[in-house]
């Protein structure tokens, strides 16, 4: 069991082994390649953070109520912590692209939600609509946006929500 007795043959066999080892590395280091996106596809990504509206409006305290509080705890308003769920719906050419109801995170359901969606769609012109309902105190979707978008292959169309501007397509 001390190896092939003929040294040149032993070295040749070693070379064969090293070649197999390196061939394995060489091949699987880059292959087989994967297709992430078809040639005629683009991507729509919806990504933003948003806090739903407070479940209950803030209450202004009366003078009597304020007087009952310790001086260092007196605030003019008291606000509940819980926030509303956020409902997002996006459609492309009338078909649902993304639809989700996100519950506010946190022990007291008081955090903002992180919206993230990314999906491939055919490149070209489309009717794109996105709407969001972030308040249980109002009926229906209170933020909407619709527009015709022209996507080129491999493009990532990014949709964000900015409180001052509403939905922005980048």
């Amino acid at each position: 069991m001390f190896g092939h007795k003929n040294k040149p043959i032993r070295y040749a066999l070693q070379a064969v082994n090293y070649t197999i080892f390196m061939a394995l590395i060489w091949y699987f280091a880059t292959a087989p390649s994967i297709r992430v996106l078809a040639e005629d596809e683009a991507v729509i990504t919806i990504a933003f953070a948003h806090a739903g509206e407070l479940l209950e409006p803030c209450q202004r305290l009366s003078g009597e109520e304020l007087a009952k509080l310790a001086p260092n705890m007196r605030k003019l308003e008291t606000c509940p912590r819980e926030r509303s769920r956020v409902i997002i719906e996006a459609t492309l050419d009338g078909k649902t692209l993304y639809s989700e109801t996100l519950q506010p995170p946190g022990l007291f359901s008081d955090g903002g939600v992180d919206v993230y969606f990314s999906g491939s769609v055919p490149a070209g012109k489309h009717d794109f609509e996105i709407k969001m309902d972030d308040s249980v105190r109002k009926e229906g979707f209170n933020n909407t946006s619709s527009q015709v978008v022209d996507l080129i292959p491999a493009q990532i169309m990014l949709v964000v929500f900015e409180p001052e501007k509403g939905f922005v397509v980048k």
């Binding site: 069991m1 001390f2 590395i25 060489w26 280091a29 491999a154 964000v160 980048k170």
Partner: protein, 514 residues
């Protein structure tokens, strides 16, 4: 005897490597040290690459391109070595795991090494993943988004990591964090975990044989020159890469995200990890009885402490008031029940107390040195013929009772290293014409050092040595696994033929003297 198919496959692979590399350089016997060597290559090449690397979103890609193309002869080669050595280490680590699994060296007292080894694979893979980020090409973009999706799926994280990778959001700060992780945080974690991994071993080796290291390095260098590592196009968060040449050694999990949810992908990876971690207990293995110290016969010489492969013995100040300064104690939870300590104890001398029970300083309850002496006497008494051969065989190699015949008897040991050299001398003196010792294949002892210590003891290089009065021509050592019966039989027959000649020569010379 049936050998399970997994072990048979491993042994066949091992045999092939023994033919081409010999037992000295067989890479399967040095998978751990080979992995360490590859980590050295990765470290040195990584330090070199760090010098010209520009750690920013805007500069990273161009600096890597500069290294790859403008300075292909230095930094380019270093990059390729860095990449290919990283890939190679995945192969050596997986083979290391396969070997330990196939040969049953992951259960019982060995659970700790296995249990602490599995997370190392995780650390190595995550180092590779962050390394791919740093190139900041299309592949990095693909990996970064996939990683962020996986991180966001973990409930304890706030869930906003993916938003870093939408156009205009990615910052240098985040990139530098990844750089810090890859260059310092993860490698330090790996070093710490590797230290834990080998904590229950003694005489830990971290360097492979020089020939194997040189061969591996040359092979990596040739590959680096023949097919240098290159980048994809630069990362652009406003477009999606269409085709990715994936490194399957590190990034194999990401394509799953195209068909599975992040949760399913986590379940698969964590499920495989948990299964691997739990393997030592599926089912659990009961070790043999642990070594016991008999202070009455222990002079605290410490030979057993030096020979124990699993750090299960320590030396402490004498507690029994005897005139010796030290004594040894056995830590049962670390003891592998191999008996190497009994073989190393100078008190394990069968010539002592020829009539009564043979007591020794450290012994195995399930097969004491006294038992070995009794079995030796019985075997010699049972044999007849002119070539009585007594075979001491390790139970992790061939069952030597399969070689029993009129003139050949086998005595099974837990490890060849538990054989006191004086017992070989004793057997020859008591009438055996030859003594053969079989263990695992050379350099591949189930208990790490059993066959190595035996060889060194017989050659006078390690205490307790085989004394000069034992005729070396009548002693044979053959390493072989349980599938090597034919080879061992061939060697046994050759040994028998040599003994016939030797007997004849001795007969002739004694005749002349008369």
């Amino acid at each position: 005897m049936l050998v399970n198919p997994v072990k048979r496959t491993y042994l066949a692979l091992e045999s092939w490597f023994n033919i081409s590399f010999g037992t000295q350089w067989n890479p399967l016997y040095h998978l751990g040290t080979l992995s360490f060597f590859l980590l050295w290559v990765i470290l040195v090449s990584g330090i070199y690459l760090f010098i010209p690397f520009h750690g920013s979103l805007a500069g990273a890609y161009n600096s890597v391109e500069y290294m790859t193309h403008d300075q292909w002869y230095a930094a380019g080669i270093m990059r390729s070595l860095h990449r290919y050595a990283s890939d190679a280490v995945i192969i050596t680590v997986l083979l290391h795991m396969f070997k330990e699994f196939a040969s049953g060296r992951y259960r019982g007292f060995r659970w700790f090494s296995w249990f602490t080894g599995v997370p190392n694979l995780w650390v190595i893979v995550t180092i590779g993943i962050t390394g791919y980020w740093l190139v900041w090409d299309e592949l990095a973009q693909y990996v970064a988004i996939g990683s962020a999706r996986l991180m966001d799926a973990i409930p304890m994280f706030p869930g906003a990591m993916t938003r870093n990778f939408v156009a205009g959001e990615m910052t240098d700060r985040f990139f530098i964090l990844i750089e810090f992780l890859h260059l310092l945080g993860q490698p330090l974690a790996l070093v710490f975990m590797l230290w834990i991994h080998v904590k229950r071993l003694s005489n830990v080796e971290i360097n492979p044989p020089r020939g194997l290291a040189i061969g591996t390095f040359i092979a990596l260098l040739v590959l680096s020159l023949a097919s240098p590592a290159v980048s994809h196009g630069p990362a652009d968060l406003s477009t999606m890469p269409q085709v990715i040449n994936l490194d399957w050694f590190y990034l194999n999990i990401y394509p799953l995200l195209d068909v599975w949810t992040e949760g399913q992908t986590w379940m698969l990876t964590m499920g495989i990890t948990l299964l691997l971690i739990m393997l030592p207990w599926l089912p659990p293995k009961k070790d043999g009885a642990k070594a016991l110290v008999d202070l009455e016969h222990c002079n605290g010489c410490g030979l057993c402490f030096e020979d124990c492969p699993f750090d299960a013995i320590s030396v402490q100040a004498r507690t029994d008031g005897a005139r010796f300064e030290t004594e040894v104690i056995v830590h049962p939870e670390l003891c592998g029940a191999c008996g190497i300590c009994a073989g190393s104890c100078p008190s394990s001398n069968p010539f002592r107390t020829p009539k009564g029970d043979l007591k020794t300083g450290i012994d195995m309850p399930q097969l004491t040195v006294d038992d070995m002496r009794k079995k030796t006497n019985e075997a010699i008494a049972q044999m007849d013929g002119d070539t009585k051969i007594l075979i001491f065989g390790c139970d992790h190699g061939l069952n030597v009772n399969r070689l029993d015949s009129n003139d050949t008897k086998g005595i099974r040991l837990m490890c060849s290293g538990m054989l006191p050299p004086t017992l070989v001398e004793y057997a020859l003196k008591k009438g055996a014409h030859g003594v053969m010792v079989t263990g695992c294949r050379h350099n591949d002892c189930f208990y790490r050092f059993g066959n190595r210590w035996t060889k060194m003891r017989f050659e006078g290089e390690r205490k307790p040595i085989l004394r000069g009065r034992a005729d070396r021509k009548r002693i044979r050592v053959h390493g072989g696994s349980e599938t090597d019966k034919n080879e061992i039989e061939i060697d046994l027959n050759a040994f028998r033929a040599e003994l016939v000649k030797l007997n004849q020569t001795e007969k002739n010379s004694s005749g002349k003297l008369n």
